[in-house]
Symmetry: C2
Subunit: 207 residues, 2 copies
């Protein structure tokens, strides 16, 4: 670094803020109105530039969607593995508990991106590609649930396929109401995990 200008040079000359900032704003618009109902003019207005300027940073509307879904999927799959340095879980049930808490955290951190992913319908090749990757993720969860049932860690009579669907539904539903900055959400990942294993409305212990 011969001068500080080298590091500072990343600052854009105009107020757009670069592709990352544009993507952030676009995803918010997509979530507010829905992808199809959001026009390129909506996006450029939210970004403070003209429609044609937007095409200088992104190839088109679908490229924007692709970039957003990619980020969401990467986040999701990162929840499958323990962070480096952590000793592996003892059984499938404990592994599931860790995944659930991590997935909720991903959902909270990348809320707009994951929300967008969860609403994809499959209208375009990009959307179908995302749907397929999401299906692969769900299959991993389902396999773990099956392993936990087979290991005898789960009460007899629970259908693994149904349990896996309800588990995903419960976890993902957080995206429909969680908003960052809410008080009392620091324990949300653990709260959701507790709801999975003990019930959303567990009966009171007989006093």
């Amino acid at each position: 670094m011969t001068s500080s200008a080298q590091a500072e040079a990343r600052r854009p000359r105009r107020p757009s803020g670069g592709p990352e900032s544009l993507l952030d704003k676009a995803v918010l618009e997509f979530n507010a109105r829905g992808y199809d109902a959001t026009s390129m003019e909506d996006l450029s207005r939210a970004a403070g530039i003209t429609k044609s300027s937007f095409y200088h940073h992104f190839a088109g509307k679908e490229a924007l969607l692709r970039a957003a879904l990619e980020r969401a999927l990467d986040g999701l799959f990162s929840a499958l593995d323990d962070p480096p340095g952590v000793e592996p879980a003892v059984g499938p049930s404990e592994r599931l508990r860790r995944i659930v808490t991590r997935q909720v955290r991903v959902l909270m951190d990348d809320l707009p991106y994951v929300t967008l992913l969860l609403r994809v319908r499959g209208n375009t090749p990009t959307e179908r590609w995302a749907l397929q990757r999401r299906k692969a993720y769900d299959a991993e969860i389902a396999a773990l649930v099956r392993a936990a049932v087979d290991a005898g860690e789960i009460r007899a009579g629970v259908d693994p396929a149904l349990a896996a669907r309800l588990l995903s539904g419960l976890v993902n539903s957080v995206s429909e109401w969680y908003r960052p900055g809410r008080r009392g959400t620091a324990s949300l990942p653990e709260d959701v995990a507790r709801a999975i294993f003990a019930g959303v409305l567990p009966a009171a212990d007989p006093a």
Copy 2:
């Protein structure tokens, strides 16, 4: 009935099948592609008539949505009350259990309509109206959850507001994967209720 033709006369001269059949087909298209991404031409093609013929039965696209959402909301609210002749539940917890099972049944019976409702974003006055009615429904559920916690029927430490959201999320997630005609879904309403009160993955009893 002076002749058998009288009963048969309901059969249309042309293949449309009347407003109800049109609404059924339209809702299926809405769910497959999303409301905004579905054009009136898609709808008329699915119904086997031309676009302009469609306007003979419905005032427009939004009227179609309104009729569908109305049906979904009526179904939802019908789950709040016991059917006539049934003695009332003893406590809020038992009342919640009955509502959950009935709501799942409504979801299974009117799957496309409820699915459409659960995806509404609020872009038009009709959508905002539906969102408002749905919010009122959720408030009823939340009040019941609070009552169950206050009555001491739920394990101490459970946050009523969070529990109500997770409950709705778990129940409504059924719409994302349930398809009529699946085997082993006769017990689904009770299975979901069990997951709410005992957990999606309840720990095995120590043998």
